[in-house]
């Protein structure tokens, strides 16, 4: 199959959908050249640096029958638009009794690795998970990117596409046909029996590398990539943990009240999964600090294959003690 980068897969999905549906238009503080070339400045709009306005305008345009895409670019820049996200986009369909749909796609690059310091290295998707009324996903491969983005654009709700900065240039096979990936369906990126790793985005690849290493020692790791954060495929996660009895959660974000906490809660509150748990759950996350600039510091903050491996070893050692 032909290969595309993660970023190319995103652009291809958007271009294909824009060809299909003239109601789609795009707003961003920078007009992406290939899209601009094909669709022109009416549909690919370069805007003032006013993410709050753009985010709100998308709501109004969507309520009038359009299907806007707003590219916040770095997730950082969407915090100026948080009122429009949390108080308006997330609630407006519900608050108005469902009388009209608001099909909107918001795009946001997340993560670190670029040595661009605290303001430009954020992974705050968990904050948005906490808000009822927003769907969101975070793909780990070009294939998933394209399929999820298409689903998002066709969805009749506000959806946030979180996109990993670290993966932008990463290549992978992407089918040429018009496929979509349903929301709420996790992908088992590797099957295994001894331990489940639930990982997101870049850490899926780090987890795969860790699994490869551990396989040499006879440890069989299952890697679950949720892909969609809301709705989250609770069932696949729980089933995997019921099979393996052990869970590591790998996330480039900090742990506190995060995605990783949610996954830990989901397995702990389910009777069957809890019963199957053989060891404490382990979160392998960024340290709970703003992201520092210097490479020495940045490296120290983020989890990677080494820390995932260590985490897996730890949960393999752990067990329900007699204390129970």
């Amino acid at each position: 199959m032909r290969e595309l980068t993660y970023n190319e897969a995103a652009l291809e999905a958007i271009a294909e959908e824009m060809r299909r549906d003239p109601k789609i238009f795009y707003m961003s503080t920078d007009a992406l050249p290939p899209l601009l070339k094909e669709f022109g400045p009416q549909r690919i709009r370069a805007t003032p640096i006013t993410e709050a306005a753009l985010t709100g305008m998308a709501i109004g345009a969507a309520g009038c029958g359009f299907r806007p895409i707003v590219d916040w670019r770095q997730v950082t820049f969407c915090f100026v638009a948080m009122d429009q996200i949390v108080n308006q986009a997330a609630k407006i369909h519900y608050m108005f009794g469902g009388q009209v749909n608001f099909p909107i796609l918001y795009r946001a690059a997340v993560g670190g690795g670029g040595l661009v310091a605290a303001q430009h290295s954020q992974s705050p998707y968990s904050m948005f998970m906490n808000v009822a009324g927003l769907k969101m996903f975070l793909p780990s491969t070009p294939h998933d990117m394209k399929g999820l983005l298409k689903t998002a654009i066709r969805d009749n709700n506000p959806v946030i596409s979180f996109e990993s900065s670290r993966l932008m240039a990463r290549k992978g096979p992407v089918p040429e046909d018009d496929y979509t990936i349903p929301f709420g369906v996790a992908d088992i990126k590797r099957e295994g029996d001894d331990v489940t790793v639930v990982a997101l985005a870049w850490l899926v690849h780090e987890a795969l590398a860790a699994a490869e290493e551990l396989a040499k020692e006879g440890v069989s790791v299952e890697i679950v990539d949720p892909r969609t954060l809301v709705p989250l495929d609770t069932e696949t996660i729980r089933n995997s943990v019921q099979k393996t009895g052990r869970l590591v959660i790998a996330d480039e974000a900090g742990p506190t009240a995060g995605f990783s906490a949610e996954v830990a809660a989901l397995v702990t509150e389910d009777a069957a999964t809890f019963a199957a748990l053989k060891a404490p759950v382990k979160r392998v996350c960024a340290l709970q600090v703003p992201i520092p600039y210097s490479p020495v510091l940045e490296n120290h903050v983020f989890p990677d294959r080494g820390r995932i491996t260590a985490g897996i070893r730890e949960v393999l050692r752990g067990r329900r003690s007699e204390a129970a």
């Binding site: 345009a61 969507a62 359009f66 108080n87 369909h93 608050m95 009794g97 469902g98 009388q99």
Partner: protein, 327 residues
């Protein structure tokens, strides 16, 4: 402030304006009473005293045009043609309300008539309706979009961001600032560098107009000119309507109202409904019987709305989980 001439409007249309203004007033008087009787919940902000603004502007609009409102939204709903039954049912928290009981006073919307919703966040609607202005421009059918917002909202970021975008893109929009001289417990004098919000328009190269917001004809004329300009591709206009709320910020009993008594009294004498009534009488377009008939129709409609609301069921508890997402 220019005083308006009687506009080029048929007498029927002028009486319709009175009917709408009176409907807003009677609706809110009842809503306030029912709120204090515990039949309406949460918070209710009355538009009483400012009716000329919503009605003046909406008279200049067609059904396909779109508006957005604020926390003080009943007047805009009624002026844009919303159904009193469904409004009242919403205030009563019933399943038949505009929002199926999920929104209440601060969130009534009717997209079918181009009313894109009341909004609980100060300045929260400005960017949303600017998106509707962009939609209207892209639709290319000559539609316009109107943002109603308060003097308080005019100091907030979205006002500035959206005026610049609308001016740059020549969006078919009206930005209507309802300057009632106060924002909750603060006075505009405390929070604005200058008394006129309209003066900010020049910074974006668009017209900024001050009108007597209690003079429905003046409002209508300004809005009409701005609508023409917008429809013909001339871009947005900022219209500042000087007006006043005759009641406290909300209908909650016992809340502070730090406004100057003399100021309140002076504005009570400038009541927009009394002014319109007087003019219609002077023009010979209205007499006691005519007024009684209007009042009678309104009270009948209002009683019907109350009856509808009272007779409507509350939503079922399980409905709370509907409508989070659309299919």
């Amino acid at each position: 402030m220019p005083t308006s001439l009687s506009p080029n409007l048929a007498p029927d249309k002028q009486r319709e304006m009175l009917r709408q203004m009176l409907t807003i007033r009677r609706f809110e008087e009842r809503a306030s009473a029912d709120y204090n009787a515990g039949k309406i919940y949460g918070v209710v902000h009355c538009y009483i005293g400012e009716e000329a603004t919503a009605v003046g502007v909406c008279t200049a609009l067609g059904r396909g045009d779109r508006i957005i409102s604020t926390h003080r939204g009943h007047g805009h709903c009624i002026a844009k043609g919303a159904d009193l039954n469904r409004m009242m049912a919403e205030l009563y928290g019933r399943q038949t309300g505009y929002c199926k009981g999920k929104g209440g006073s601060m969130h009534i919307a009717d997209f079918g008539i181009g009313m894109l919703g009341a909004n609980g966040i100060v300045a929260g609607g400005i960017s949303i309706i600017t998106g509707a202005g962009l939609a209207a421009q892209m639709e290319g059918k000559g539609g316009v979009a109107v943002s109603f917002f308060g003097d308080g909202a005019s100091n907030a970021g979205p006002f500035h961001e959206c005026l610049n975008i609308a001016a740059t893109w020549k969006l078919p929009m009206l930005y209507v600032c309802e300057n009632n001289l106060h924002a909750a417990q603060t006075s505009a004098a405390q929070t604005h560098a200058l008394p006129d919000v309209a003066g900010r328009a020049a910074g974006y190269g668009i017209p900024g107009i001050v009108v007597d917001g209690n003079d429905v004809f003046a409002v209508y004329q300004a809005a009409n000119a701005a609508v023409d300009r917008a429809r013909s591709g001339g871009g947005p206009t900022l219209i500042e309507c000087k007006t006043y709320r005759q009641r406290a910020h909300t209908e909650r009993k016992g809340q502070a109202d730090p406004r100057d008594k003399a100021e309140v009294d002076a504005w009570m004498r400038k009541d927009p409904i009394a002014l319109l009534e007087r003019r219609l009488r002077e023009q010979g377009e209205l007499d006691d019987a005519g007024l009684q008939s209007i009042e009678g129709d309104i009270m009948a409609a209002l009683e019907a709305a109350i009856a509808f609301a009272e007779a409507s069921p509350f939503p079922l508890p399980e409905h709370a989980t509907d409508d989070v997402f659309s299919a």
